[in-house]
């Protein structure tokens, strides 16, 4: 019998499978409706939305780095109202499980976004982007401060009954502390990691390669750090974790799940291979089959640490 891929991200969010598209790497989802059957994904996390439209940063907005890329898109976006009007109906029509990534300059804006989206039809959950490294106002200022993280989560908690998933930044000393604060403030789950603040300089022009000077590093380069952080958070909180950062293959999906992720998001890999989704799903199914699991949930957090300290010296 085929293993059961469905996973639950808290009491009110059940996913068909643990593989979701990461925010900012899948447009508003509708761009990919011809490439992948959106309803087959565990979920679609749409591009970060503010209340209002934003033009984003001027090009260059991305630069490739070894096994990774920097981006400083600057959250160009259509704003929540146009999203609800123009994109959400299409997502709904395609049967997508839609998670909306929201971003504000103030705590009030997060709460306001949450209220507006609670009334919209077809939103499965909210991901709170308190971790975007390449905009000046808001975002990461909340994500790098325990009090700020608490405030945003607690206020959004009051504003909506939708599941809320704060997205943590890896640019902190102790990510587990942020996970705990998020849990305390009422988060249903957490997701991590957002990108690492980084920089690249063109040595010929002697200028930063990105117009925004700095940007966020994503892609396989960061995977080992992201896996470590997911594992640390798994030991710190009870709520489910959505893991991400550099997933390129089904093996990487399994690695994150063993480390403690109940579900994963895939970002940069979708740029490299937009047809990746069925490959990841069948790879995960094969893995579960091969290791005789009946459900994906069985492997969450089961990394075996007991054998790690090879007691060679005593033998």
């Amino acid at each position: 019998m085929a293993p059961n891929l469905s996973v639950s991200l808290g009491s009110s969010l059940q996913l068909k499978n643990p593989i979701m598209a990461a925010s900012g790497c899948f447009g508003y989802g509708v761009e990919y409706a011809e490439v992948v059957e959106l309803s087959t994904l565990g979920g679609v996390v749409v591009k970060g939305l503010f209340l209002e439209e934003r033009e984003g940063h001027p090009p260059e907005r991305i630069v490739e780095t070894p096994s990774g890329m920097l981006n400083a898109i600057g959250l160009q976006g259509i704003g929540v109202h146009r999203f609800i009007q123009d994109k959400l109906p299409t997502l709904r029509a395609h049967g997508a499980t839609t998670i909306v990534n929201i971003c504000g300059s103030t705590v009030d804006e997060y709460a306001e976004l949450a209220r507006i989206l609670s009334d919209a039809d077809g939103v499965a959950a909210l991901e709170l982007n308190i971790s975007c490294p390449n905009i000046k106002e808001g975002g990461i200022t909340f994500g790098c401060d325990l009090g700020g993280t608490h405030d945003v989560v607690a206020r959004v908690r009051k504003a909506t009954a939708l599941p809320i998933i704060p997205k943590l930044t890896p640019n902190v000393t102790d990510v587990a502390a942020f996970a705990r604060v998020a849990e305390e403030a009422g988060a249903d789950a957490i997701s991590l990691v957002n990108t690492f603040l980084a920089m690249a300089i063109d040595v010929d022009t002697q200028r930063p390669k990105l117009s925004n000077i700095v940007g966020g590093l994503s892609g396989p380069a960061i995977r080992p750090i992201a896996v470590r952080m997911v594992h640390q958070c798994r030991q710190a909180v009870q709520i489910p974790i959505m893991g991400m950062g550099g997933i390129m293959t089904a093996t990487d999906v399994v690695e994150f799940m063993l480390a403690g992720a109940a579900a994963v998001q895939v970002g940069t890999a979708n740029f490299v291979d937009p047809f990746i989704w069925p490959k990841l799903l069948s790879g995960l199914t094969d893995y579960l089959d091969r290791h005789q699991y009946r459900s994906a949930e069985e492997i969450v957090g089961t990394v075996d640490l007991a054998h790690s300290d090879v007691a060679w010296i005593s033998s």
């Binding site: 761009e31 001027p58 396989p220 979708n270």
Partner: protein, 273 residues
């Protein structure tokens, strides 16, 4: 329809130490490509380089029965992937995702078509020339390169009945100077009544100049921009171009979806790096 083909390399013709043409067994892509569209390529499983790179479809290959059998790419070495494409050998494979993007509009007689190419900007014009000439459109190629050794496929264009206006920086072939010089001269000489469409692909400064000339002489121009592209499918918002919207407003639009071909007039050239 968009597909991803792990295409066999059929041949690799090195035209110079910098330019080559790679032929690929990607019939499904070739069969549905329109002039000006592009593919996103990558090789193998290595994660460095990581992202795909955009390349115009240079030729649609056909077998002896005139069935589409593949595509070719005109490649100029500038970095990692273009360097790899230069050394690739027949028998190896290249992943090709396409066709992507908005094509050129193929103008019909009595309008004339003037294509303006600089360097590797020639790439989208062979398929365009074929389409234009099958519509019997009077077609000219203004084509500039650094020297005679860097102007390619001239016979091919001539055999399609394309009129050629060549320039080289060093004067070793055609007129000495920039390709915009003969363009400007011929625009000046043109009677107002002649309908004409200008197509341009090449260095940004060249395209900007061509768009300005088009504007000045009131002929529509279409330029094919070469923005850095992370995905080619509208997912990443990396490839944006600042555009004058009809309402007068300015906007960043994704050149992979709404381009790479744009009306020259719509672009805010100051905002392009």
């Amino acid at each position: 329809m968009l597909i991803d083909v792990d295409a066999l390399v059929l041949s690799n013709d090195r035209l110079s130490p910098e330019y080559n043409v790679v032929r690929l067994a990607a019939a499904e892509i070739g069969a549905s490509t329109e002039p000006g569209q592009f593919v996103m390529v990558r090789q193998g499983l290595s994660l460095d380089p990581l992202l795909r790179r955009p390349f115009s479809v240079f030729e649609i290959l056909r077998d002896d029965n005139d069935r589409v059998s593949g595509i070719s790419l005109l490649n100029k070495v500038v970095g990692a992937v273009t360097g790899m494409l230069f050394t690739i050998e027949p028998g190896q494979r290249l992943q090709c995702l396409g066709p992507l993007g908005q094509p050129f509009s193929v103008i019909k007689p009595p309008a004339r078509a003037w294509m303006v190419a600089g360097g590797v900007g020639l790439a989208p014009f062979l398929t365009l020339a074929e389409s234009l000439r099958s519509a019997s459109t009077d077609t000219t190629l203004f084509y500039g390169g650094r020297s005679a050794g860097e102007l390619y496929y001239l016979d091919k264009f001539e055999s399609l009945g394309v009129r050629m206006a060549l320039t080289t920086n060093d004067g070793s072939l055609g007129e000495a100077g920039l390709v915009t010089a003969p363009l400007k001269r011929e625009l000046q000489a043109l009677g107002e009544e002649t309908p004409l469409r200008i197509y341009a692909c090449g260095p940004t400064e060249m395209m900007r100049a061509v768009a300005a000339l088009g504007h000045q002489y009131r002929y529509p121009s279409e330029v094919s921009l070469e923005q850095v592209m992370g995905c080619g499918l509208g997912g990443c918002y990396s490839c944006v171009v600042p555009i004058h919207e009809p309402g007068g407003q300015m906007n960043f639009v994704r050149s992979c979806l709404e381009g790479p071909v744009f009306p020259g007039d719509r672009i805010n050239w100051n905002g392009i790096p």
